[in-house]
Symmetry: D2
């Protein structure tokens, strides 16, 4: 068999394995069509409306290219029996993502990684049924790749490391759809210098600059796209909206039971896998549109603001000044806005790259460069550019508030260059 | 003021007019973010998940480029006072599109063009309120451009003709998002040879081949993307699904009133503008997901098939053989499927281009090429390639049926090369 | 072994065969770096300065992709022993091209196709030496592919037919370098639907529109790039320049023997292969620059005009009016210009596609589309767009003259819309 | 007037000023068509065969876009009377480049910057004649922009600084033609955030990451394209070839006077402007091809190796080990190669960015970022990525030698990972 999918990023994505094709056709995987890859970012970058479905297809495609290349080029270093588990894990690595996952998880305690595991291993799902046809233990094998416990570190690193099939696809894809050229890097070259090692993967020395460029592209995408203040405004507003609904539900549940049945299990903290799978972006937005009719003026207003994209404004603040923000919060309250729902803090920091630190909380698998004589060197030792973004977080914290506050001099006196300065500093 | 929107097709889209910016921020326009530009095509071309919002932004952008160019280049042929009405009409020309418009209209008698008019002219909408700030008659002016009644034919043709801002954006955009390179054409060149005439627009002779290429690109997009049999399967299934729901509603409405409140006015044929605006792709899909739980096995199955993308299969048939399809339909019935819901006909024909035929039902504004000495010639007279697609429709009619039928020799004996042949012909 | 060449059109071109690599490193092949692919077109499209070297690399690349695909996909239809001869013929098909081949051949009676044969089969060349290492008859085999005499028609058609590796590369490459987007087509798809048949190659029916699009792209490139009047002015001027030099040489050869030694064998019609190989664009231009110092004012002026790109102007004329052009030629003479050197006719016509016509002078191998049931149909029967450009030539004939003539009303009275009209017609 | 040039990098380049158009048509500017932008790099990146002509057109285009934007957007900060001098200086900034400039200058003491000045100011040139038509002092004005002496620092910085029209074009162009995606950056965004200041130009804070990305792209192009070891081999071989010819000329000049007349003034150190302008890539290559026939075996071999691309091989060495290379050089001599001509050192180092250091030899104009409140900050203070490449040189030094040496264990014992290690270190 051979099925072909037209893809604007990778041109054609080819499926020659029946298991892969059957997985794509499961209800759980098709559901990813209804969840945007970038969540609230599409409100800022209107072109970036692509779904997690297309991203997962792309990750599969990159994994297939690598495993095919390893099979043909490194028969003594790579076991072709790992091809299917690698490609399957690539395809399914994000299958547990839900609607507006990050915000949703913060509020309802769900965990998309745990859901991914459950979708793969629970006998209730279509995905599990397909996987079991390969072998009874195949679901567990695939799940263990995604949870990093699979014994073959080559496979694990291809799916999840600082340079893996997931990141390579999302950078190229998000760049393509947002229109951000700085997200591009030389995928073809990276796929030519990647090499299986005894305990993972490495990159040949003549591809060092391509890897360097990939890391810088990733850093640029974080700074310019993923951390955009307008998208984060929408995230803040979404969190406030859901929080308000949850509060109101506890007082009076009938409105929500009628308009938002699939959220009820979450409000009641009784949610099961099937409840999680019943949510997607469209379902959530449908509920939010219904909430505009709710008698509570705050819920109604938050819902309308979200749906119609009326954004809160923001300033950058320094973590040390978080306490001092009270002076602004008080003014928002005086302005007639409940600050619990009309102000918010949003921190976005990313550690673009780090070498392996055995004592850190989440030690990272470092990127290693293979010299001709077989010696391995950690990347930041070779590249001053990479060293400059190694081990340090980048990003900022922002304080969000109603736009109307910008008309008040007593408010804006604390703001300079889009940043908050407590009085004493100015 | 100046606002900039990053767009992957046009790079940056710039808004310098407050009215345009305010229109973008209305609820009715933001709603377009929740409606896919290509409807069911994204089920076939997974990359083509872009919304009508981004298309409308693109049409505005092209209209702005043309009106800016006319203003600077042809002060004696173009009146700059037409700039705003042109750009506004470009932005709003599709604002009345709803969820899965074409299928929906067939079933519920709505008309997205009429809705566009209503959104612009009804005093209830935010869009109308913004337009009235320009002048009391501005809404009517904009609406008349879209309905082709505006006296200035230059403006009308820029918005709606065989080569207009709408088509130019959607071809480029749909090509970019689907990954179909054949949809590309030389927009920059066309924007350099377009010229205002007394009664419309024309194209300078040195750009003739660029216009020719645009028409061929459009033809290719129809043949290869818009008319793809898999997308049409989804359209057929959607029509069947909605029809079944409508039928069931008339018998027993409580389930639908609970799960699908926004469709009720349509089931009852009492729908008003606000009901139409309450629907979008997400709302519809939310309802379809709820319908999977309906006790009617046909509705439940149709809903699940649509949501999970289980496609009907199809063969091409000749219009003359439509009657003869009964032999296949009967077999589908014998196979245990209600043919009213599990078979369907779907015709897709496009007339890629035509010259002006005064006696035709919908006479088209022909494309004219301006020679250096001022003479105008209709395009197909100059281009044999264009002549070959002039005045003739292209496409096919397909008969849809359950996939399982392909396993039966008594069924497939009528099929050769994906086409239906009644017995006598084989 | 594996060598990789970065290529902007195909991304990476990979060489894994030592013979191919050795051929690339021969003097005769490296010489192609010094010959522009598009000759005088780069004077019009300044970006299109690429060489025949890069084109030949691209043709090899496409041939390699096809033969690799055939080997993997059609073991019963394609003999992998043909891979090397196919790839080699692809690489070498243009190796006999010389500086400004077409113009040069018209004047000196050389024939780049014959030279290609000679380079491959003559024991004097490095290329022949490399080929002989494969087997003693390998040079003849490769040469026979290029001369269409090789018994395996599959191989011949991949190298030379109406849709071959040569054309596919030059369309994409010339489009990329000139900036002409209309030259693009869906190479990846074509490479997926091409299929070896018993007597040649065909294309599967589901790729019919991609082939159609390729033919239209080719037609567009001819109309918009290859036949551009400014490039043809340079061709006319080049022909005049070489003709004048040849004439002068016969009268007095010392100047040319000193300044242009490599042309002497051609002036004396004693040229051998080594003389041909000693010419390239740089050598020719070096000579032309020297000729500016020649005492003959016409040669000097023609050389300076060519080197500094002072172009003749032109009008389109109808073949029937060729005689009537005398009225313009006489005026040019009266204006003080020798019409033998300052006027010229230039016809450019292309037959974009044709089906097989057994009685025609050069019968073409038609493009055939393979239906699922195995029937073959000639392309223009299926595609009205292709039919529209089948069997008819497109292009025009132009009359070239000094720019200054455009200032004279008695001259321009015969010109309307860039075309010549003999008096009676106007 | 308006003339349009199709350009694959910038799409269309528009000329609306007669002076600019006349300058393009001068002999000195047309000559740039005959000089490759990247010199020997096209021997490594076969696609990168573009000329200095197309680069200069691109620099003009960027300068025009910036000056048009400044004129429209910053009437109080930018004087539109500077538009023409800026665009002219952009067009002409490289007009003094010659064939293989860098190598040639090292040997013959020419200086392409001085030649640029001379071409602009010498009354002998066509360029000077065109410029004088603007005003008698216009040639001097243009020349002073290029020599950094023009009083308006805005103009000077647009033409020559660490982020100027020249660099922006060559990065994009060299990336496009070589196929190196990492050279791309967001030109459109940079052109939107550039702002004229009292003493130069700056970039608005919201474009900081685009400037950062531009610098990293530049760094990547140096590391991966400009410093490629194979291109440098050709540079070394070219230098050796010219040096040998110069030596031989002093002993016996007749061969060179016959075959290479335009080099004679340089051999005799009597070269004038007209001699310099008579050289281009084609002329040089023509001479080299002639030198293959020279009786001196070294000259003949060096010429053939250059023309046919037989490359020296190389190893990286540390500056401290330069003395120690003698052990390898001696072996080359023992192998029968004159080390003066068959070994060579080649250092390529680039300082990607630096802030202004008043005491440095060549203080650089630093890149400054403008905050909303008007404060300016030097870029590396804001960007750790930029800081990592600030003030430090990147690149390496290589030792070149005949390929055959790699077959000798006594030679390769000093080589590990493509680097030279004197015995004691291994």
């Amino acid at each position: 068999m051979e099925k072909v999918f037209r893809d604007p990023v990778h041109n054609y994505i080819t499926v020659q394995n029946q298991t892969i094709y059957d997985l794509i056709n499961t209800a759980e995987f098709q559901r990813l069509r209804r969840i945007k890859q970038l969540g609230t970012s599409s409100f800022t970058f209107h072109g970036a409306e692509h779904s997690r479905f297309s991203h997962c297809m792309g990750v599969y495609h990159i994994a297939k290219k690598i495993t095919d290349y390893f099979t043909a080029t490194y028969p003594d270093r790579w076991n072709p029996e790992e091809n299917l588990v690698t490609q399957t894990a690539a395809l399914l690595h994000d299958v547990g993502h839900g609607a507006y996952s990050h915000t949703f998880e913060g509020l309802f305690g769900t965990d998309h990684e745990a859901v991914t595991q459950e979708i793969i291993t629970s006998p209730e799902t279509e995905i599990n049924a397909v996987l079991r046809q390969v072998s009874p233990d195949f679901p567990e094998k695939v799940a263990s790749v995604i949870s990093h416990k699979y014994p073959n570190r080559q496979v694990v690193q291809l799916i999840s490391s600082q340079i893996d099939a997931d990141r390579m696809d999302y950078l190229l894809r998000d760049a393509y759809y947002s229109g951000a050229v700085y997200g591009e890097f030389d995928l073809t070259r990276i796929l030519r210098v990647i090499i299986p090692m005894e305990n993972g993967i490495a990159f040949k020395a003549n591809g060092m600059h391509a890897v360097e460029d990939y890391l810088i592209s990733r850093y640029q995408m974080y700074m310019q796209v993923y951390f955009h203040p307008a998208s984060r405004a929408m995230e803040v507003q979404l969190a406030k909206l859901l929080a308000r609904a949850k509060d109101l539900y506890l007082k009076e549940d009938s409105f929500f039971k009628m308009t938002s049945p699939n959220l009820v299990p979450f409000f009641e903290q009784k949610n099961q896998l099937k409840d999680y799978l019943a949510l997607d972006d469209g379902v959530m937005n449908t509920y939010f549109q219904a909430w505009i009719q709710h008698p509570d003026p705050i819920l109604s207003d938050l819902a309308a603001s979200y749906i119609n994209r009326h954004l809160l404004k923001s300033v950058i603040y320094h973590k040390n000044d978080e306490e001092q923000l009270k002076v602004l919060i008080d003014q928002v309250a005086e302005g007639g806005f409940d600050p619990d729902y009309y102000t918010g803090l949003h921190s976005n920091f990313d550690l673009p790259y780090d070498f392996y630190r055995p004592n850190s909380e989440k030690p990272r698998t470092q990127i290693e460069i293979l010299a001709k004589d077989g010696t391995l060197t950690e990347l930041s030792e070779l590249s001053p550019v990479v060293a400059s973004i190694t081990g340090t977080s980048h990003g900022n914290a922002r304080f969000y508030f109603p736009k109307i506050m910008l008309d008040k001099p007593e408010f804006t006196q604390y703001i300079k260059n889009e940043s908050f300065f407590p009085k004493e500093e100015l």
